[in-house]
């Protein structure tokens, strides 16, 4: 008996011309831990929903083929009946929270399973501990930070202890050590006999899964042992090849941990190491020194009205003209709060924020929200982008020009008359950026602009920001993606529990693993390897360039 078995499943959402699944074949053994990757739009979420019977029962459309979970046919069952055997953590975690306290949110599933009060209490305790939310029991879910909400969404499904657990990109907003922790919990479940299907863009973070599944255009195009897939195959499915694999492949060595890889490289290079190091040092470009201070944060403290705890406890920061800066830190450390204060959207409880020496006002500093959907509302792409400049009194030909320019910059020129909500997530994100760019902000702040995007979309977004920055514009980026920060940011500030604990050039910060782990972060693999060789690389390309011969 298979845990999950789909035979020739095709599905087309009602009102959509294109099938989301096309004659899909998929089988997973009981107790198998599989990781599923693929481009956005490949049908991953639809596959997850088909396993729960959500399509076609609750989200209607044309369905063909057969879905079985633990041998039972799903057809004709309601999702609540399926929920005894299978649990799903949805990609959109905000949408699955509806209770007035963290405790009751987690209790909801076990209640429906008819468990005793004592058992429900135990499960609440355990699943909150598993996701690192102990002590949050009485908090109201809507007051949690983005990552805390996502952790809660995971806990609420873990508490049901489903034999088949499906997680649809469950860690997009969680800090790096938190992600490791969640992956550890998932592996523990597997070792207890649960079947796990995990949708994940960063397949390298779950290297010890049993199998890797790749989807493309509504089909499963590859399933096999983790590590058997080569970089080319991954890239063709829009998945970022894990750095250890790529590095090993290019250097012709077996994939090893950072220590092993560093000593392997040392062995291969032998006497030439010194030479390589010298040449690398000549090529690394630490970037132009920043110009005058544009944005200055002075001793800022902030508490949310609904809570006694301070979200920011005295933060000072100077952003120079033309900088590309990343703000990093664990979930709930105050990054989004700081960003909103820097943009003048929240007023600090004490301290001040100055833009070129004057108090900042909303509209002067561009701010791109994490969720583009809260930013978009106009009937057409053009109108959406024109909203900001119009508010600032720009009219006529000048308006046309600034809209045109902003759309051009993000590569959406041909989309002027489209409905913003008909765009893909990646395109919506770029539209959100364009709509802020059109206001010609002095500084652009982006809160996690790459979450929910696949590798290609992430690269596009970041390459665009890099280009914009190279024209002398200032960018402040909040992200949980270490490779993004390492590769693109010139400077990093670490926020921990409402305070800045480190601030400096990216290479310097990223070579200090102890400091990073204090802030729940972890440098990318290539940086870890490089640091052991005295050359903390910031990207795979840089490493390959230095080690080419």
């Amino acid at each position: 008996m298979k845990a999950v078995h789909l035979k020739g499943v095709s599905f087309t959402y009602r009102g959509s011309g294109v099938p989301a699944l096309r004659c899909l074949e998929y089988a997973q053994e009981v107790g198998e831990f599989a990781v599923l990757g693929g481009r956005s739009g490949a049908g991953k979420s639809t596959l997850c929903k088909a396993i729960m019977g959500i399509v076609p029962t609750l989200q209607r459309g044309e369905m063909e083929g057969e879905v079985r979970v633990l041998g039972r046919k799903i057809e004709g069952l309601r999702p609540f009946q399926v929920s005894r055997w299978a649990g799903l953590v949805f990609q959109d975690f905000e949408a699955q929270l509806f209770s007035t306290s963290v405790e009751l949110e987690v209790a909801f599933g076990p209640e429906n399973l008819g468990l005793s009060r004592g058992e429900v209490e135990r499960r609440i305790r355990e699943s909150l501990r598993a996701v690192g939310l102990e002590g949050f029991e009485r908090r109201e879910p809507w007051t949690l930070s983005g990552g805390e909400k996502q952790r809660l969404a995971i806990a609420s499904v873990l508490a049901m202890g489903p034999p088949v657990l499906v997680l649809d990109e469950p860690t997009t907003d969680i800090d790096p050590l938190g992600r490791e922790e969640i992956h550890r919990v998932v592996k523990e479940l597997k070792s207890k006999g649960h079947t796990v299907l995990l949708v994940e863009h960063e397949v390298g973070e779950v290297e010890d899964a049993d199998s890797l599944v790749l989807m493309s255009e509504g089909k499963v195009v590859w399933k096999g042992k983790m590590g058997k897939a080569d970089s080319e195959l991954l890239a063709s499915c829009g998945v970022r090849p894990p750095e250890p694999w790529a590095l090993a492949f290019h250097l012709g060595v077996p994939p090893l941990g950072p220590e092993g890889m560093a000593s392997e490289i040392e062995r291969v290079l032998g006497g030439r190491l010194e030479e390589v190091r010298r040449r690398w040092r000549e090529t690394v470009d630490e970037g132009a020194t920043p110009g005058d201070v544009v944005l200055e944060v002075r001793d800022v403290e902030y508490s949310y009205p609904s809570s006694q705890a301070q979200a920011l406890k005295g933060v000072s920061l100077e952003v120079g003209e033309g900088e590309f800066m990343a703000v990093l830190g664990p979930n709930g450390s105050g990054k989004s709060t700081l960003a909103k204060i820097m943009a003048g959207l929240l007023s600090p409880s004490s301290g001040s924020v100055l833009l070129r020496g004057r108090p900042v006002r909303p509209g002067k500093v561009g701010y791109v929200f994490q969720n583009p959907d809260q930013q978009l509302f106009a009937p057409t792409v053009w109108e959406e982008v024109a909203f900001g400049p119009r508010n600032m009194g720009v009219r006529g030909g000048e308006l046309e020009d600034s809209v045109e320019e902003a759309l051009e910059a993000v590569g959406l020129s041909g989309y002027k008359d489209r409905d913003p909500f008909s765009l893909s997530r990646g395109e919506r994100q770029r539209l959100a950026v364009a709509s802020v760019l059109a206001c010609s902000p002095e500084v652009l702040i982006l809160d996690e602009p790459t979450t929910g995007l696949d590798y290609e979309e992430q690269r596009r977004m970041m390459e665009f920001l890099r280009e914009w920055n190279l024209k002398g514009r200032t960018v402040v980026l909040i992200t949980h993606s270490m490779w993004v920060a390492a590769k693109y940011a010139r400077r990093c500030a670490l926020l921990l529990d409402g305070r800045i604990v480190a601030d400096g050039p990216t290479r310097e910060i990223f070579s200090r693993e102890d400091l990073l782990s204090l802030a729940h972060l972890k440098p990318p693999f290539v940086t870890q390897v490089g640091a052991r060789l005295g050359m903390p690389f910031l990207s795979l390309d840089e490493a390959l360039e230095a080690l080419r011969n």
Partner: protein
């Protein structure tokens, strides 16, 4: 629920069904008479209940809304109710001592009714209200669906404020200008909030079922025992009500 305060008090600890019945009894009190003096005692009771629920702070928070409402109802009834000898003539309108006392009574009545409501909401989670309704015979599913609107309010409010912030970041200032200008400026807000609400309710029905909502095996996590406290509270409420009814002017 945005009024709910997570504290420990006599009212917080009561059985939700007992609290519901108590609320109905409390609502009866200001309806028994239209005498301002009697209705002052209703207001006094509302304050006492507030102290029992440690929610006088919430009463205070509501003053911006309650005081204008009180004044408006006194004025309206005093001006428009035509009884007794006019004391004062204002064109077609007149005020008599009777209409003034009636206006005062109505102001007191509406204020005490609202305060009883605030006390209930400040001490009862929406989940408890659902459990209370279930205990007095309302089916769980119906009670839950009713509660959803209230549950989602804070989330909608939070999203609304995110959307306002996103628009302010693009130079939109919804809080400036006269009332008409403000109304016009609210237009770009409406679409994203409505869209969000639609999407959210749509996804929510799916998320609920995926966590087993609708299962006949459900066993509530929040359980309550009808205790001495509840008997006492209901007994005293009933006594006060009966006495007030007998003694009312």
């Amino acid at each position: 629920m945005f009024l709910y305060q997570d504290k420990v008090s006599f009212l917080h600890r009561m059985h939700p069904s007992a609290k519901l019945v108590g609320l109905v009894l409390a609502f009866c009190h200001p309806l028994l008479s239209s005498d301002p003096l009697y209705l002052s005692s209703s207001l006094g009771l509302a304050l006492a209940v507030g102290a029992l629920g440690r929610c006088l702070g919430n009463y205070l928070r509501m003053r911006k809304f309650l005081i204008p409402l009180f004044i408006a109802s006194v004025l309206l009834w005093a001006l428009f109710r035509r009884v007794g000898e006019p004391l004062l003539m204002l064109g077609p309108l007149s005020v008599s001592s009777e209409s003034l006392s009636y206006g005062l009574a109505m102001g007191l009545r509406i204020t005490s009714l609202l305060l009883f409501g605030v006390a209930f909401l400040s001490t009862t989670r929406i989940e408890e209200l659902t459990a209370g309704l279930e205990a007095v015979g309302v089916p769980f599913k119906a009670g839950f669906v009713l509660s959803l609107a209230v549950r989602l309010l804070p989330t909608f409010a939070a999203t609304g404020s995110e959307i306002v912030q996103a628009q302010r970041a693009r130079g939109h200032d919804p809080f400036s200008g006269g009332p008409l200008a403000r109304l016009r400026k609210a237009v770009p807000l409406v679409a994203p909030i409505l869209l969000y609400a639609l999407r959210k309710t749509d996804q929510l029905s799916v998320a609920l079922e995926a966590r087993g909502f609708g299962s006949p095996d459900r066993r509530p996590y929040l359980t309550y025992r009808f205790g001495l406290r509840d008997a006492l509270a209901l007994g005293v409420s009933a006594m006060v009500l009966v006495l007030s009814w007998r003694l009312r002017p």
